[in-house]
Amino acid sequence: MSDFPSFKEIYEQHTDMVFNLCLNYLQNEADAEEVTQDVFIKVYRQLANFKGQATLKTWIYRISINQCQDFLKAKKRQKRFGFHIPVLWGNPAEGLPVLSDFKHPGVQLEDKEAVAYIFKNINDLPQQQKTALLLKVVEDLSQKEIAAILDISIKAVESLLSRARSNLQKKLDASEG
């Protein structure tokens, strides 16, 4: 355990990975920065409890995904209990970030509208499907890595990805009319 990296080293090795994952999950730069901070505070506090059952990268991926999901839940709660008019009038896009919320510095200007549109539909997928799809398509991870992060079998990842792709395509086709 003596050659275990220090917190600063862990931060330097994983900060871009965490920030990009948060950015793809939340599609907002400010939110991604806030959640990245939360992730590393959690890593710092729980580092003593890390037993090495998974790799450090997998462990940090898991923390990041959980933090992003908690952040989205809190945001949804805030909207629901706040004076948010679209929720009161039953907006079908409830809980989805509206286009003005989309602020992703990794997306090129000419693709911005199209990517925001795809992300809007990805956000509507069940949580597990959304996570698997983002890890595969955007993060470019292997099915084995995704299986380790989500703590499921490779077969389950295959099925998740296939369902996610087909559900997303249905949503895109439906909204395109």
Binding site: F19, I41, V115
Partner: protein, 92 residues
């Protein structure tokens, strides 16, 4: 519109670097809130203490209620049998 919904567009998303000074901000937040969590042992001890206090209160209330009931029934017997606590033989 088909081109708009091409999932492969997501593969074109570029990786970006984390904002500068993020580590400084994280460090500041770590130092700001050193230990906002109560240790689990303390939480257990406190809840156990509260439970004991609650049970003790219940017992006290119950025994108080029994005592008052007992005194009440004794008073009824004394009144009905015309018993007096006083040692005086003659009433004035």
């Amino acid at each position: 519109m088909k081109s708009k919904s091409n999932i492969d567009l997501l593969k074109k998303i570029e990786k970006v670097s984390a904002p500068p000074f993020l580590f400084t901000r994280i460090e500041a937040r770590i130092n700001q809130q050193p230990e906002d969590r109560i240790p689990i042992k303390w939480a257990y001890a406190m809840s156990l203490g509260l439970a004991v206090l609650f049970c003790f209160n219940l017992l006290l209330i119950r025994s108080d209620f029994r005592k008052s009931k007992k005194a009440e029934s004794l008073q009824i017997v004394v009144e009905e049998m015309d018993l007096h606590h006083s040692n005086q033989l003659y009433y004035e």
